[in-house]
Every structure is written in structure tokens, then in C-alpha cells.
């Protein structure tokens, strides 16, 4: 250790010039200080004494040796310290990121559109309105809606559903995954596996999408090209339930389970799954 600092830089050229491999090894160099005349001056002068005299003679040399040796522990402590600070720093950063309000995490998703910032009136909350409703955003992300919500207990719909019911599901905290009808079957299967059976999620094809896949939460939208896109899981994790403006207790069951884009609210007795009494 003590030799390495002064001897290091000078030893390398000798190895390159001679091509002798044994000379590069530290023990070999210390044992044979006379192997290279040029290299032994700084290293060889101290080396033998440090090894032999360290134990026997105390008066003079130990002072120098202890100075030289202390670099080892210092380097070690610095290394351990840097490592520790790094670990703590990464941990703290992860905790900080995880503790960010969900709105911030949502805004950090690349490509997400935050209508809560763009259009505050739109996302305030939606009153019930019967019949067909025109939405400016496609697929819609907020606004008035029919009084019945689309069932959103991880339902997978194989045909398009009515916006007027789906928007009510969004209000209750659902992430609505939509895909263009021409999306390959294996891609649809991947989306299905993310949604099926999980409350506050639903999946349906959607006619006229400008991208293969579009995700909606109340006031948020993200469009992606591929079911393998990591942002899909990020969007779902961040906005499912969180995006509900009625808290985590809004109901997803007892909604409309039928497909078809015509809203059913104007048909009074056409509510599916309702007890008859």
C-alpha cells in the first residue's frame, strides 16, 4: 500500500517498454528492488524498510510509515462514506418521488394531457344529464354524464360503449383504457390482462382513435402506440382511484354492463342488473 503512491506512475512505463509481466506485480517488485534501476529509487528505498523495520525499530521510521499507512483507512472511509451517502441519497430520492402528490407524478408522465390545468370548469364535476351528450375531447375525459355509470369492476367490453356512461365511471375514479378496433389481437390481450377483474378499470374498443391506444382518467389522457409501453402501467397506477373527484368510495358495481354507444338513461326501465322490486 505504501509503495503504490510514489511507485505507481513510474512503474507503468517500464512495463510497457520491457514487456515483462512479472515486473507489473506488486509483490515481485517489492521482493526484487534491483530488477529495474530506474524504478527502484522511489519505491525500493522505502519498501524494504517498511516491511522489515516496521516491527523492530520504533524511534524514527514508524512516524513516516504511519503517515503513509493512514491513507489506506482514509481512502476506505471516504469510499464507504461516498457509498453510504449514495445509498441514502438514492433511497431518499425514491421516497421523495414516491411521496410526491399524485397530481405531480401524473404530470411527470411523458405525453400525458392534464385537463385539470387546461380546463378547470370541465373537470369540476359532472351533473347528470339524460340522453346523448356532445364531448369536445375524444375519448371524453370529464363533463356531464348520464346518471348510470358504465360498470367498471375490471370489465372488458368487446364492443364500443357509450361515452355518457363511461364519463360517469371516470368521475368515480376509473381508468378507462380504449383501443382502436384494428389493434392486433395479441396487443388487445395484453391490455385485457392489465384490466380484467380489477375494480376501477375498464377496457373497450373505440372508433376513430387517432392513436392505437388511449387511456382516460377524470381530467387526464394519455395516447400511446403500443400495449408494451411502460407509461400505461404508470398512468393506471398513478390515476386509478386517485383521479376520482368523489374519493375512494364511489361505486363501480351496479352500472351498465351492456355495450353499444347509445346511452340508456333516457330509457327509464332499461337499467340492466337492477332488482325488480
Amino acid at each position: 500500500m505504501s509503495i503504490s503512491t510514489p511507485g505507481g506512475p513510474e512503474r507503468r512505463p517500464t512495463v510497457v517498454s520491457t514487456g515483462k509481466k512479472p515486473a507489473a506485480g506488486r509483490p515481485a517488485a517489492a521482493e526484487k528492488p534491483a530488477a529495474k534501476a530506474g524504478a527502484t529509487k522511489p519505491g525500493g528505498g522505502k519498501g524494504p524498510r517498511a516491511g522489515a523495520g516496521g516491527k523492530g525499530r520504533k524511534p524514527v521510521t514508524p512516524v513516516k510509515v504511519s503517515q503513509g499507512r493512514s491513507w489506506g483507512p482514509i481512502a476506505l472511509f471516504v469510499a464507504v462514506g461516498v457509498l453510504a451517502v449514495g445509498i441514502i441519497g438514492i433511497g431518499a430520492w425514491a421516497v421523495y418521488q414516491g411521496a410526491q402528490p399524485w397530481q405531480k407524478r401524473a404530470d411527470a408522465i411523458d405525453g400525458v394531457v392534464d385537463f385539470r390545468k387546461k380546463d378547470k370548469d370541465l373537470v369540476k364535476g359532472g351533473n347528470h344529464q339524460p340522453g346523448t351528450i356532445k364531448y369536445d375531447v375524444s375519448p371524453p375525459v370529464a363533463g356531464p354524464h348520464n346518471q348510470a355509470w358504465q360498470n367498471c369492476m375490471g370489465d372488458v367490453y368487446d364492443a364500443p360503449i357509450a361515452n355518457e356512461h363511461a364519463v360517469h365511471s371516470l368521475e368515480h375514479g376509473t381508468v378507462w383504457v380504449t383501443y382502436r378496433p384494428d389493434l392486433p389481437a395479441d396487443q388487445v390481450a395484453k391490455l385485457k390482462s392489465k384490466v380484467q377483474g380489477k375494480e376501477k378499470l375498464m377496457l373497450s374498443p373505440y372508433e376513430g382513435l387517432d392513436k392505437p391506444i388511449s387511456l382516460q382518467a377524470w381530467g387526464f389522457q394519455l395516447k400511446v402506440d403500443n400495449a408494451d409501453d411502460g407509461r400505461i402501467d404508470e398512468f393506471i397506477k398513478t390515476l386509478r382511484v386517485n383521479a376520482s373527484i368523489e374519493g375512494p368510495n364511489a361505486l363501480c358495481d351496479q352500472g351498465v354492463t351492456a355495450t353499444g354507444t347509445t346511452p340508456r338513461d333516457n330509457l327509464q326501465q332499461n337499467m340492466p342488473e337492477q332488482p325488480t322490486q
Binding site: 503517515q67 351533473n127 373527484i245 374519493g247 368510495n249 364511489a250 351496479q254 337499467m271 322490486q277
Partner: protein
């Protein structure tokens, strides 16, 4: 570690000689610093442990009063909502009924969890609404604002058809108006951030409901 401290050449034989006081003093100094650091850490840890206990809402706090009274208030809305889900004729009455029932039951869970985490009983011995400054004046026949009497609940249970729908909508509108008043009370009196955040969501939901209940009542030709 100790080698660099004693590297001064004169001190080589010091441990055995008469000058042994200086390193010993240094060692005691180090020990004292270490002890002080340890005590400081322990005090900080104890402080950290105690702070939540000392600052959490107490037995007579507005937060505890709200959690208990709103649990009772919500319980009646759950009962009314489930009646609407079972007996309502109008589709929207049934739909709103089940939404209110499950939503408020969920909120009851939140409020009861608060009380448990504050190490308080689920119910208290204070009069209803005592946590609100003008609370006592709002209580009629022992009922909190907007709550239906047992007779009204019996009538609702016995009703059917459009009569039930209109009666339910009227009662739930009154219930929500009273509920929003109580929520305004905790928003004014409360200090706990979590309680305030949840109360705000409750208020948003009930105000949203109120708009829809009122519109439904109008659609069915009833008067408030």
C-alpha cells in the same frame, strides 16, 4: 486509529510515565462527546415518538366530534340509500341510492379508522354537535341537522312507486344539506390535514349529489 493520535515522538513511552493524564483526559472528552451524541439522538427519537401522540386530536376535539357525529349521520343515509336501491321505481333514484349508500359506508370506515388511530372510542359521551360552536342549537329532538325522524323513516320504508321516489329525494336533500353544514363546521374548526382533505371530498360529493337529487325531484314533479 489510535496510532496517529500518539505519533508525537515524545509520547512514545507516555502510557507508562507520569504524563498519562493528557491522553486519559482526551479519552474522557471523547467519551463525553459520544455520550452527549447518544443522549441527543435518544432525546430526538423520543421527541419524534411523542410528537404524534401529543398533537393528535383528543377526546373533545372537533375532529373526534365530527368523526363520531358524522358516522351517525352517515349511517342514516346508508339506510335511506339502500331503501332507494331496493324500493325505488325511478332508475336514477335506485342508482343514486346505491351510490350514496356504499360511498357513505366507505367514509364511515375512514372516520372510524381515524378514531382508532387517535386511540379514542368510536362513540363519545358528548351531546350531538357539541364540537361545533353553534352546534347545540342545530339539534332538534336529539337529531343532527337534516336527519329524518324515526317516524319519517318508517313512512319511507312503507312507501312505494313514485311516492317513495319523491319522499326519498326530499329526505335525502334535507339530509345532505345538514351534512354539508356539518362538513363546513369541521372545515372551519379542524386542524388535522387528513381530516380536512377527506371532509372537502365529502363536501364535493354531497354538493354534486344535491344538484342531481334536486334535478331528479323536479323531473318527477315533486317539490322540495
Amino acid at each position: 486509529m489510535t496510532a496517529p493520535v500518539t505519533t508525537d515522538s515524545e509520547l512514545d513511552e507516555a502510557p507508562a510515565a507520569d504524563e498519562g493524564g493528557r491522553p486519559a483526559a482526551r479519552r474522557y472528552g471523547l467519551l463525553a462527546v459520544a455520550a452527549a451524541v447518544a443522549v441527543g439522538l435518544l432525546l430526538g427519537y423520543a421527541g419524534g415518538l411523542l410528537t404524534p401522540t401529543l398533537t393528535r386530536p383528543g377526546q373533545n376535539s372537533a375532529e373526534a366530534g365530527f368523526a363520531r357525529d358524522m358516522t351517525a349521520h352517515h349511517n342514516q343515509a346508508v339506510a335511506m340509500g339502500l331503501l332507494a336501491f331496493r324500493q325505488g321505481q325511478d332508475a336514477e333514484v335506485r342508482q343514486v341510492g346505491v351510490d350514496i349508500a356504499t360511498g357513505q359506508q366507505g367514509e364511515i370506515g375512514t372516520m372510524q379508522t381515524w378514531l382508532r388511530s387517535w386511540k379514542l372510542d368510536p362513540t363519545g359521551d358528548q351531546a350531538p354537535m357539541a364540537w361545533m360552536p353553534d352546534g347545540a342549537g342545530l339539534v332538534k329532538n336529539g337529531l343532527m341537522p337534516g336527519m329524518a325522524t324515526p317516524e319519517e323513516m318508517a313512512k319511507l320504508r312503507a312507501a312505494s312507486g313514485r311516492e317513495f321516489d319523491v319522499m326519498f329525494l326530499r329526505m335525502m336533500i334535507q339530509h345532505h344539506i345538514g351534512g354539508v353544514h356539518m362538513i363546513d363546521g369541521i372545515l372551519a374548526e379542524g386542524h388535522d390535514d387528513d381530516v380536512l382533505a377527506v371532509a372537502q371530498v365529502m363536501k364535493n360529493t354531497q354538493q354534486n349529489d344535491l344538484a342531481n337529487l334536486t334535478a331528479a325531484l323536479k323531473r318527477l314533479g315533486g317539490t322540495p
